[in-house]
Point group: C2
Chain length 277, copies 2
């Protein structure tokens, strides 16, 4: 068959399971393909029972670092043939986890190309909305406390709106983690309780003059699938990572963003008016 | 971690890509889990470029039999640790393909337990609707011509409604395969063109007194997500296969069917009033 020599994309899912699926679906959605055979080769590993909670580790580093099992699962994807990989979990990109994943992979002699969801998201934000300077983030408490997006955004020259800790916990983190109504417990469909909280959080960032809202926890992608929210540009880290994985393996098959006619993201200076839903 | 010794489910996707995702999503949806870690381990292989079109092969056996690449990809899933597997494609279960898959696996010394989507679907139909005797099938032309469901259903004592060949092709097969509007070309969302044809096909089976309608091509599951269609019980082969994969690996985690309070399917004589959506 024609495509069997294509680079295989590895998706490390399982944290959470639906976020892994969401990343794979975004890869398919953003691939130019008219037949089954034209779609790109993807392996998904979803072994959630092996991966300790990322936020729990960041909040209490005495617990198990999920980096070791994530690195082991990435190695398995590489053994199966994956050459480029993405982790469908923002929190796992916090330095305390991500750096250990990378050093573990190096120790194992891995040559898989692992993309970084935060690097890709900020690069995409710059290109899609070059005039935006003030940004809000929907993320877990782990990402909030470690300032994963915040530090990198500030390094890139952005003003970052940091909500008070109780608001962050009650109206943002709990949208994902509430044991009864959170997106991890109910994602198909997402509960109206979680949707209401996301609306409140979005209103908070808009009142604080955010020009863009980053979906910085993969679960939020399951609840927000518009390209703008009120007056804010939405940048969905899962969609961005999916596009980056296609760019690294089959750039000519990357579906153009609506309204641009452009096949490539990452061409500096272009203003994209929409994100693919 | 607690669950790392669980049996791993292998999903052979890629034929088509969204059908593979749909099977994985159905596994997650039908698993009792309140946290990420409680979900079952699943590997998805989606390498569509390697798998020749199944229907094309059944209609013209001089072309490449997709069985060899499917068996090779199943072996890779087994190498990665999968012990039980399902193929997210009904047409691949036609004897001309499925028997070659099985003999290839045997030749390779495989011990993976491969479930058969048609066997599982008919078993489920009997249990959920024990009074139904007359059945319609939404399937590809390949499945129609090889009478994949039809022969097994007749062996099990059912009357099977066989639409005329031109109706089958225009109103059923093309829902999936039309190059512009078919579900393989547009599945996220499914086109209204495809939905309209499915409605017409459903009306045909109902007029012919079908008590149940089998979704016998995985793509139809992307378009029909109700448990009844008009007066017919809908039996979605993808949902059934997902439940069977959970049953084989972690039966205590199988979500009960709505209205039954029962954890297990396949307990003879029970009447289930609904299929999980």
């Amino acid at each position: 068959m024609t495509y069997s020599k294509r680079k295989v994309i590895g998706v490390l899912g399982g944290c959470g399971p639906y976020a892994g699926l969401q990343l794979v679906k975004n890869i398919f959605d953003q691939t130019i393909a008219g037949t089954d055979q034209e779609h790109l080769p993807v392996y998904l590993s979803s072994v959630p029972g092996d991966i300790a909670d990322r936020t729990a580790y960041l909040l209490n580093p005495e617990t198990e670092n999920p980096a070791y099992s994530i690195a082991a699962l990435l190695s398995k994807l590489e053994d199966a043939g994956a050459e480029v990989a993405g982790i469908a979990c923002n929190t796992s990109h916090a330095p305390a986890i991500y750096e250990v994943i990378c050093s573990e992979l190096e120790r194992k002699g891995s040559s898989i190309k692992l993309l970084h969801i935060v690097d890709e998201t900020i690069r995409f934000l710059k290109e899609i909305s070059p005039l935006v300077t003030r940004v809000g983030i929907l993320c877990s408490d782990g990402t909030y406390r470690t300032k994963l997006y915040e530090n990198q955004l500030m390094d890139a020259g952005y003003d970052v709106i940091r909500p008070p800790e109780d608001f962050q916990h009650m109206y943002i983190h709990q949208c994902v983690y509430d044991e009864q109504y959170g997106i991890k417990a109910q994602s198909s469909p997402v509960s109206s309780w979680a949707k209401d909280r996301i609306s409140k959080a979005a209103a908070y960032f808009e009142e604080n003059s955010a020009g863009a809202l980053i979906l910085g926890c993969t679960e939020f992608s399951l609840a927000v699938n518009t390209h703008t929210l009120n007056s804010m540009q939405v940048v969905d880290s899962v969609k961005v990572l999916a596009r980056a994985l296609i760019r690294e393996t089959a750039p000519s098959r990357l579906r153009p963003l609506p309204g641009t006619g452009k096949l490539q993201q990452n061409s500096p200076g272009q203003v994209y008016s929409e994100i693919i839903n």
